[in-house]
Symmetry: C2
Amino acid sequence: MPIIAHELAKKQKEISVAEFFERNKQILGFDTTTRSIITTVKEGVDNALDACEEAEILPDIHIEIKHLEGNDYQIIVEDNGPGIVKRQIPHIFARLLYGSRFHSLRQSRGQQGIGISAVVLYAQLSTGHPTLVTSKIGKNLPAHQYELAIDTKKNLPEIISDQMQHWDKESGTQISLIIKGKYVKHKKQSVYEYLKSTAIVNPHAQITFIEPDGEKIIFERVSTDIPPSPMEIKPHIYGTELGTFIKMARDTKARKLTSFLRKDFSSISLDKAREIVKKSDLNFMDKPQQISREDAKRILEESQKIKLMAPPLNCLSPIGEILIKRGLKKETQEISPEFITTVQRTPQVYQGNPFLVETGIVYGGKLPQDDQVSILRFANRVPLLYQQGDCVITRAMEKTDWRRYGLQQKGGRGIPYGPTLFLIHVASTNVPFTSESKEAIASYDEIEKEIRLSLQQCARTMFRHLRKKERKSKAKDKFLLISKILPQIANKAAETLGKPPVAIDEIITQIMDILWIEDEVTYEKKEESWITKSKITLTNYMTKKQQFTLYAIKPHEAIVHQVTPQPTVVTDTYLKWHIKNLSSNAKQEICFELTGIDKGDFDDNDLYIQGINPLHVIGAEKWEGD
Amino acid sequence: MPIIAHELAKKQKEISVAEFFERNKQILGFDTTTRSIITTVKEGVDNALDACEEAEILPDIHIEIKHLEGNDYQIIVEDNGPGIVKRQIPHIFARLLYGSRFHSLRQSRGQQGIGISAVVLYAQLSTGHPTLVTSKIGKNLPAHQYELAIDTKKNLPEIISDQMQHWDKESGTQISLIIKGKYVKHKKQSVYEYLKSTAIVNPHAQITFIEPDGEKIIFERVSTDIPPSPMEIKPHIYGTELGTFIKMARDTKARKLTSFLRKDFSSISLDKAREIVKKSDLNFMDKPQQISREDAKRILEESQKIKLMAPPLNCLSPIGEILIKRGLKKETQEISPEFITTVQRTPQVYQGNPFLVETGIVYGGKLPQDDQVSILRFANRVPLLYQQGDCVITRAMEKTDWRRYGLQQKGGRGIPYGPTLFLIHVASTNVPFTSESKEAIASYDEIEKEIRLSLQQCARTMFRHLRKKERKSKAKDKFLLISKILPQIANKAAETLGKPPVAIDEIITQIMDILWIEDEVTYEKKEESWITKSKITLTNYMTKKQQFTLYAIKPHEAIVHQVTPQPTVVTDTYLKWHIKNLSSNAKQEICFELTGIDKGDFDDNDLYIQGINPLHVIGAEKWEGD
């Protein structure tokens, strides 16, 4: 009888990574022809933005899509980045799993070394066409142009042609591909939507887009500040897996255990390194290359028990509350929203990787009242358009009880309904995507929790705003009613009794029994910049004089200019006044000016009060401490 | 000024596929420690089942999980498959992208050559332990035992030890790993659930599971029929991408264009090959290795216009309606469901890949009335436990209007509510998973449509059953009421008028005006097998004699034994009788017997009628044609 295993063995063989993805193109985001065009543009633009960011250049990106024949489309993406040196071009564009960002820990759009070569692979697979790449690295140098294909059996570049060329550009890269696709205009999942969302979270980028029908759309930059290029960091020992630790110990150049810990990990001082080594019953002179699995395990276990600093955070590049607000404002103009608020959380760590969450909420205006809310998801400044169902962002949304914040939600679970748009941005040195198409983030508890907290923080502000509006309007109604009817009753009574009419002001005050706060924000142009002027009016409709503390929240980025009266305290985030003596029926005005921000960046006062029962205050909330 | 591109170039380098997945373990299904245990068992069991299937052996699989210390668990999976030849063991278990099933087109659980080595990678990453693999390929041969690790920088096996060993087993493979994990018992997402679901769709497998607390669970096989090992097929030209076609033409051994088309693709005859070549303005003697991109494009375009046979379908291995029903019945015993129905659709093609959908519905019993329905998803006989949100199966469920089938569903969209459990199995030579963790199927239109049709077909049967029950019960109430009250009224009237009571039967018949059909299924043991006996009773409660055709549906697999009266037609799927003359108030009995199926496989008659207004029939539906 023949041995079956021998028969089976004949078929066993190696699979090249390019062959693998050629067969499984859906994993890379090329399942439908519509999505294939979006994925192609996305990978091109992500690469372009990363290149500009690394070189600290203000990005100026051109995208053009041309309809050729049948289902064939030509897609061109061009940037003004630093360019790519000649010998690297074939590897970067025509070899999967090749790149610069995989081995360095810092926030970037590309991490995997797959994206752009996946597009070249798809072009070749779907239309048989090679890809044209042109790149120039400096002013007085020629540009290089390559025609590239991928030898999928070997996963190596195949150079079809290679020539020097003149290019009227200081530096930059252009990629031109022909793919099978289907172009849709103005859909929820479209190139236009992808670019619009990209513009929101990359306010420093200028993006020009020419559609197949010739329409030209420009997404103007709203900020000329180049985001600082994120720093590269070492891994943090808290989240390091044992296997990784053993490999690092084997490969390190350090000769002593303590220097290995200090130099190959972030946030370990010499003292801490010694402490870890000692508690693990090892000697600091031990060679890291020679430690056993058990030694390594002990070191890891002991280091979890020691209090170490968090990883440094300059490896992250958040967008910032003001820039997100500005982006949202610009892109939701047609909706004329009632209210926009944004929150940036402090960085956290999951499995040793620093990450940070930023969120924004747009409320009201023309947003539909009874539809599900819209969710714009972002990872490292890249919009995520597909696989919403399995993303940690969606999960965090679904697990929040939105009924507490005034939205409709069946049973307090699931995507809520209401006139609201959410923006959520997760930034990390290593975003844990669920697949190579990078459209959904895996559900790590730490990330889910941060998103939830961030959403709640934003939602509270939104809810406060709605409640303030509602309470003000109710109090106003009451006020009008009283000031209209009470005098009439008083007059009628006096008339009936044949007595002179009484002064009614004090009685109104007695009935109202509130501290009424009005506020107003205006802007004044001064040379090239804007001054934001906030005026707060306090009126004491209570029978006694009042003494209390008022807090006005300000954006981190804004600089406090003139203030009257003199505040007691000014911090990064608020101004504070002690109001010592506001007599009954008296009014007081408080004014402050902010500079360093644009018109509209600050458009609604967020006021808090202390030392007075908040139930008697209209226009400010109870101060809950810093 | 230094050229930035030069600086950036220094960091560009190759990424090994093992390094890539070491960093992105969540893509492989190792994001949480709970899921890591499930994924490990899943990859082990999938491999074991595939091995047995290839060798046509009835699988007998043992799984044991032991809790070591802290978060460390040992996981052992053992099969009685054909074993693996010595030199292949290191490559299969300690090298990613290596295997036998990637390059062959036929249905199998593993396709990617990643799964089992991913588990070895995770063991090494999370606990630093190598993996122990023992395999034996024949009765009088020794077993080989390897201790294996993966050199992640090179993606190559590292052999820690290698020895011969005695093993009291004819042939088989055992893998033993130590991983970081968290064991949960009895949760929706657990090893137990995974194995239970696996047992449903692999009724020929015997699975023994020992939990960390020592509890031993046996999932008994319910069928001793080994499913035929699916045949390997050639790709179909309809779904072949241009790039793939060009590569195939370049690599073929055929010397003529026509023989290339005939031999390297399925379902192309010589005539068709000649027709394609001719219509593409080429010569059949042309060498396929030399055709241009344009020639290739024309051939592909022309072949889409020619009617070719579908790809051969013996590459697929469906479970079958009866076996799914049996599996569902066995695993839902505690629920005592009211009704189970299953459907197997005919195979279809997406992008050149044959695929097939099977579904089952379990209704009623102890299933919760007001919860969302449960969905059991399967691909190539493997349960899918994660990423439900982004699976084409979920999408097809959500896009079906379930209100039409008696379930609750807000707005006719989304997962419905009701006492129902769905089973959906997608089988294909190439299941398009959304990631390497193989938990969700990408949304190809063709697949989504087939799932929808299959669900609707099942749902219609369920709905018919519910309606039949409801109509019968209503008619019965009416019947009882009439036969009780009418005689009383008649007697009273006769008494009052002093006349003798009239015969009331005909009047009852006049009022009922229906054909009443009762049916009953019983079983009789005969030697080792069962005879299923179905008795149908027709009663004509109409004033005129009736003539009509009756259809009784039978399972494909069942063999028709005795039938009285003689049916007019017997097909694979139904029996048909012409009832020529059923007088008013007369009764007729129809009996048929089925063999070749088990007790309970057929437990409810599905009857149709033609030639009579179906509104006057209780117990059968209108026949809509074959």
